[in-house]
Symmetry: C2
Subunit: 485 residues, 2 copies
């Protein structure tokens, strides 16, 4: 028997017997794998879905169940709430959100197709109440289904792309819509005849000449060989749970401490690379500390340890948080006055470290030099009263003077506060989910989707909620259809 | 004939005839390749060196010929100048300079061995006058051979590692010591019997089972097959000249416009990955704008478009420049008073964009809000008079009030000013120069050194002059010896 390795395809010639035969083998039962399986199955292929855990979910199941959708004039919910949303504005926002890492072809395709994709999601059975919940939400606390979920309305984004709320959340009471969303996709896949094998961990791809023709999985502690006549779809998630990979490819993540993931250990990325795939933008990660809750806190001002502001705080909480982590000194401060302070979310682990009847007193309590934080706040308040932010172009209604003492500073400490994070880098894929090699050619028989790829959510400083599930569900479908075709 | 590709090893079984046979084949005749060839040859191996250009040099030949050396109490030049330099302080600085990307084993080994390495360099014939030239130098304008070449004396580095100047420059009148350094290594390699083939571009590695046994090169427009009994050493430099690779792995470099390189198109990285090698920290790059010349300008203060300082300006010009490029707005300003202004280096392309008899006037000319830049300078000057910098811990003698009008602001524009840059990410190698696969095991018969690897200069924010040539020469030697052994 040849060596079985994540890092080297197993030669088909060495396979003594196939334990399973299928058209399409999907690896991983999060949203990307589920959608790939559903589409491949709907296209008439025999599909087997292998999941390492004991059931569906993955990181998608831990999410808010929010999908980033817009364009083509807007969804019914967007239009009813008074937002038209052109495909051009939507595509522009997606590209700005991808920053230097944007895959323009994926942005353009998704912007064109998102409304049809939304119809498809509804056709799978995902419910949407269709109502718009204004304000700064991380996820709706009730069962509303349209929220602002990015930096759309904030500068610089709003200057380039007309803003609209695009976070379409499954109708579900409270946080945690990812699990019910996965339940629906799970049931749909089973109803279509997708054969599910759980507790099956991918060990290696199987290669015949240049083509991937199967996969080896650990099931009941023994290697099992799966022949996949049409293709293998990798949908195993990112590598946030793999410290060794993070050290080599994404070491900035060691500044923060709360990985979000299931078994996201980079398996799919390693398998893809073993077959000649190209892993790109591996240094990119999402991080966020839930500082906008309770909502009045969203009016706060952030300063770094030098007492300087560093961003338009009206941007998406994750963009603001990612920029926090760029600041020197290991921590930043959220400044609030008595009109805007409320007990912070316990989850956030953001303690009060300074108080005072003036910003000068807060500054002194934080042992910052006289004329740093206090000067920043004097400048901010003076201009906020006039409705302008000359430094970062923060705008009303979030731009409010913080001048009603007593005042407070919360510490967001990268090591001790809750900064959740996950990785964004992964396999380079075509718009059809084909794994591309380093020359840009598809690796025959190999497809991938979700966070084992670099997709719509490509850049940590531009991430917006719902982009990852948009990418998983839409490009998961693309991969499934292409593999079956 | 099988396909010849950078991205897939050529099977030895498909080689019809070997055009050359050698023990060790070195690819690339910069400093890393030269030192690998010299050591392999000195160890008794037959060595062939293949260079894509028409002679030696590579990016090393374009450099200042500066090598970062210290530890073990210091070199004679360091000690004569009054600097002792412990191995521990040297190693600590190397690790801080590597930041989150540091390869601690390489830092520790090099810190222990650097003095012996210096002896070896001198034994090859590289001349050192042995004198210390104080002050802020990019390269000596005269033939001095010891300068400060990093952030050693600046906070936060000086708080953790006792500072010493460690930039050992070949004795050579004026800038550009890299070329004479390469001439010496070139001659030394030839004298030892290294067989040089120029105008020979690597096309593919040759693999027999798991082992690399040779290389295919384009010579006279035909593929030539080279058998390398003991090993192939990749020393082809980074990928700064490959826009497609930069787009995928290091897109932040598109902010700046002046690549430094020769034919650094990522060939060695691609070849290494094709054999199962692991490319790490691919997002890292060095950049610098020569703003410390003429020397009085080093006393300047930098502000971003929000009028905020962002670093201890006493740090290495490359660290300061790399941090500039992190600032929003596409440009930063260097602020100087009449006591410290001198006509900037034409090379730098840094124009005067604001002047005034007060900082308020400069601020107004730059169309910055009242109380931004001027407040920053008032705060800075007030504390500088007392010898402190509460924000970034800049220290005397570089900490001088800038209060003697008229005042001036130079613009360092990322797109139009001279920001030279090169890439730092590359193959993961052992301390012996073995190319490591994704599990950390050596790829048999394959070695690498220099900028096609991730080595001592691993982190753009920590780079110091001389680190890359230290890495090329020392780990080039390691690779050559190991390949020959």
């Amino acid at each position: 028997m040849a060596e079985i390795s994540l890092h080297r395809p197993y030669p088909a010639s060495a396979v003594e017997a196939w334990d399973f035969k299928t058209d399409v083998a999907v690896i991983g039962f999060g949203a990307a794998g589920a959608c790939a399986a559903i589409e491949a199955s709907a296209a008439g292929a025999k599909v087997m879905l292998f999941e390492r855990g004991s059931g569906s979910g993955g990181a998608s199941g831990l999410s808010g169940g929010e999908i980033y959708i817009g364009g083509n004039g807007g969804t019914e919910a967007q239009r009813e709430a008074g937002f038209s949303d052109s495909t051009e504005d939507f595509a522009r926002y997606l590209k700005m959100a991808g920053g230097p890492c944007a895959d323009e072809a994926k942005c353009d395709l998704y912007a064109k197709q998102a409304l049809k994709h939304f119809d498809w999601l509804k056709a799978q059975g995902i419910p949407y109440r269709g109502n718009y919940l204004p304000g700064k939400q991380i996820e709706p606390m009730d069962d509303s289904t349209l929220i602002w979920s990015g930096s759309e309305a904030a500068a610089p984004f709003c200057n380039e792309a007309k803003p609209a709320p695009r976070g379409h959340v499954i109708q579900h009471m409270g946080w945690g819509g990812g699990r019910p969303l996965m339940d629906i996709l799970d049931k749909r896949a089973r109803d279509l005849g997708v054969e599910l094998v759980t507790d099956a961990r991918a060990l290696a791809l199987v290669q015949d000449g240049d083509r991937i023709v199967g996969v080896v999985l650990n099931i009941d502690n023994k290697p099992h060989f799966v022949k996949a006549e049409k293709g293998v779809v990798l949908a195993t998630g990112g590598f946030v749970m793999n410290e060794e990979m993070r050290r080599k490819y994404c070491p900035e993540t060691f500044k923060v401490n709360d990985p979000i993931g299931d078994q996201d250990d980079g398996t799919g990325i390693n398998l893809g690379v073993s077959a000649g795939g190209d892993a790109i933008h591996m240094d990119q990660f999402f991080t966020t500390c839930p500082w906008t809750i309770p909502e009045p806190q969203a009016n706060g001002v952030f300063v770094n340890v030098a007492g300087q502001r560093f961003i338009n705080e009206d941007c998406y909480h994750g963009r603001v948080s990612r920029t926090m982590v760029d600041q020197p000194g290991g921590r930043v401060y959220l400044l609030l006055d008595s009109a805007h302070f409320a007990e912070p979310l316990e989850l956030a682990r953001t303690d009060i470290v300074g108080t005072g009847d003036s910003w000068e007193e807060v500054e002194a309590e934080l042992e910052m030099s006289k004329g740093t934080l206090s000067a920043t706040m004097a400048f901010y308040n003076k201009h906020a009263k006039n409705g302008v932010d000359p430094l970062f172009d923060k705008r009303e209604p979030i731009l409010t003077p913080l001048d009603q003492g007593p005042f407070v500073a919360l510490e967001l400490n990268f090591e001790t506060s809750y900064f959740s994070f996950f990785t964004l880098g992964g396999l380079k894929t075509s718009i059809d989910g084909e794994v591309l090699d380093r020359t840009g050619s598809p690796v025959g028989g190999l497809y991938a989707a979700g966070r084992c790829t670099s997709g719509l959510p490509a850049w940590g400083h531009g991430y917006s909620s719902g982009m990852s599930l948009a990418d998983c569900t839409f490009f998961g479908r693309q991969a499934g259809r292409k593999a079956a075709g």
